[in-house]
């Protein structure tokens, strides 16, 4: 499954409506609302080697089963608070007591001497559009109440070739060009080409476009 994330900082809260109008001819259906939350944590250790990164990001998606992906450098973990996501082997072997807490809570409470939360970016009540080619998720992004920009997530079905997907993304980019939007960040890279972990890749793309 392929994905690409676009972030348009130079936009207005109404840009999302324009985008919807442009897409209108291709639309099959308008689907569920979605949201995400993006948090940045900073490593407070002082004597860190100068070349090692200090930032860690965590992204919670309301789509993809409310999972949270935490990424730092080249490593990522996917955590979940959904009781159904705890593997039964872990419960039967007495590892889990069946009440998971968000990983962010662990960071902000027990590890807050190591990690400080820097910023929180939210996209609430975004729209999902289904076209014949792609699933397009768009939302306005806010940071502490202030408008930050428009975020678009493009996703296709499992069995689509990489080159086909690129063409479909190019089509969306053309639409944006027609709207007069040419200055934006786009990321379709993956954190690890070998292991196709979809949630980790998507989170990595969010980090790339939202990091400022």
């Amino acid at each position: 499954m392929n994905s690409t994330v676009i972030f348009i900082e130079r936009s207005a809260p109404a840009t999302i409506t324009d985008f919807y109008d442009v897409l209108a001819n291709d639309l099959i259906s308008v689907k569920e609302k979605w949201s995400f939350e993006f948090k940045t944590f900073r490593f407070t250790v002082k004597n860190l080697p100068p070349d090692s990164p200090r930032l860690m990001h965590s992204i919670t998606f309301s789509h993809h089963g409310n999972k949270t992906v935490t990424i730092k450098n080249k490593s990522a973990v996917v955590t979940s608070t959904n009781p159904g996501d705890i593997p039964t082997s872990l419960i039967l072997n007495g590892c889990s007591s069946r009440s998971s807490e968000p990983f962010d809570h662990l960071l902000t409470s027990k590890l807050s001497n190591l990690w400080t939360q820097r910023q929180s970016i939210k996209g609430d009540f975004g729209s999902t559009y289904q076209t014949a080619e792609l699933i397009i998720r768009a939302t306005n992004v806010f940071s502490y109440g202030g408008f930050k920009g428009l975020l678009i997530e493009l996703e296709c079905e499992e069995n689509v070739q990489d080159t086909d997907f690129e063409q479909r993304v190019a089509k969306i980019r053309n639409y944006l060009k027609e709207m007069g939007i040419e200055d934006y960040k786009i990321c379709g890279d993956s954190i690890d080409p070998l292991m196709k972990n979809y949630a980790c890749n998507l989170a990595f793309q969010y980090v790339k476009v939202l990091e400022f």
Binding site: T44, S75, A76, S96, N113, D192, M195
Partner: protein, 271 residues
């Protein structure tokens, strides 16, 4: 945050057979074999870590506990022998017939690239439970030990260095020590679990040392999902006290030393 209420005791190796059949009759349930591999991580000592956070609150450095089960067929390949009786063979430091490299692979991922391509790693393979436990509160008039545990479920790991160890090292933690627990569990009345277990410590050279040599650790516990749920805490406490009464004279369940349950970095006595 889970509150774990518990009472502990110990029995010797020779009593194991009789003890399991007694508990089996008492609980009305057969014993369930369980095992878990625990890796304790400590903050990287080469870092200069502050004791306070940005709000100037004191944060004591705690160890992180990473825990998951080991597939039973790694311990006992013969399906027929895989029941509570198999624990009798572990009376020594050695873990007979167990390949310790399995644990290495769990923590660090497969080093052999070919091997990674061959076996399709299923999702539960890289799942872990990450938890931090507080020291049980002190107090003379406590009837049971109560420990607050904060836990989080890691369903998968990813990235180009995808092992759980590499993520935790990015988080600022390194491996401290490793334990393997094998035991049997009884589901008693009123959500009380009773475990008889043997514990091994595994050092870096791959040498195992049984911490419970000559006997089994007995632990009776109740998990209460919310630490504010006073009613459940009282019910759990009473259930444990009833069990303590029922077993008294046979297995004397007592409150464990709270200092031995301290996972803070300054406390080194427990290892």
């Amino acid at each position: 945050m889970v509150l774990q209420l518990c009472l502990t005791s110990a029995i010797d190796d020779d009593s194991y057979e009789l003890c399991t059949s007694t508990l089996c009759n008492l609980s009305g349930n057969p014993p369930v074999l369980f095992n878990n591999f625990t890796a304790m991580f400590k903050p990287n000592p080469s870092f200069d870590i502050e004791q306070t956070n940005s709000k100037n609150q004191l944060i004591e450095q705690n160890r992180l506990k990473l825990c998951k089960g080991v597939p039973l067929d790694c311990l006992e390949p013969d399906n027929k022998q895989r029941d509570h009786r198999m624990l009798r063979k572990y009376d020594d430091d050695e873990l007979k017939g167990f390949d310790l490299r399995i644990l290495q692979r769990m923590l660090h991922g497969s080093i052999d690239v070919d091997e990674m391509d061959v076996d399709e790693r299923d999702a539960s393979d890289s799942a872990w439970i990450l938890s931090i436990s507080d020291i049980p509160p002190a107090g003379a008039n406590r009837k049971v030990s109560s420990q607050a545990i904060t836990e989080s479920t890691i369903t998968t790991t990813g990235g180009s260095s995808a092992s759980i160890t590499s993520f935790l090292s990015e988080l600022g933690y390194i491996l401290d020590y490793r334990l393997l627990v094998i035991g049997v569990k009884f589901n008693m009345k009123h959500n009380v679990y009773l475990e008889l277990s043997k514990i091994w410590q595994i050092d870096n050279a791959g040498i195992t040392r049984q911490l419970t040599k000559g006997g089994f650790m007995v632990k009776a516990f109740v998990n209460v999902a919310k630490s504010t749920d006073i009613k459940s805490i009282n019910n759990g406490t009473n259930a444990l006290l009833n069990l303590q009464k029922e077993l008294s004279g046979y297995i004397d369940l007592t409150i464990p030393d709270r200092k031995s349950m301290d996972s803070r970095l300054e406390n080194l006595n427990d290892i």
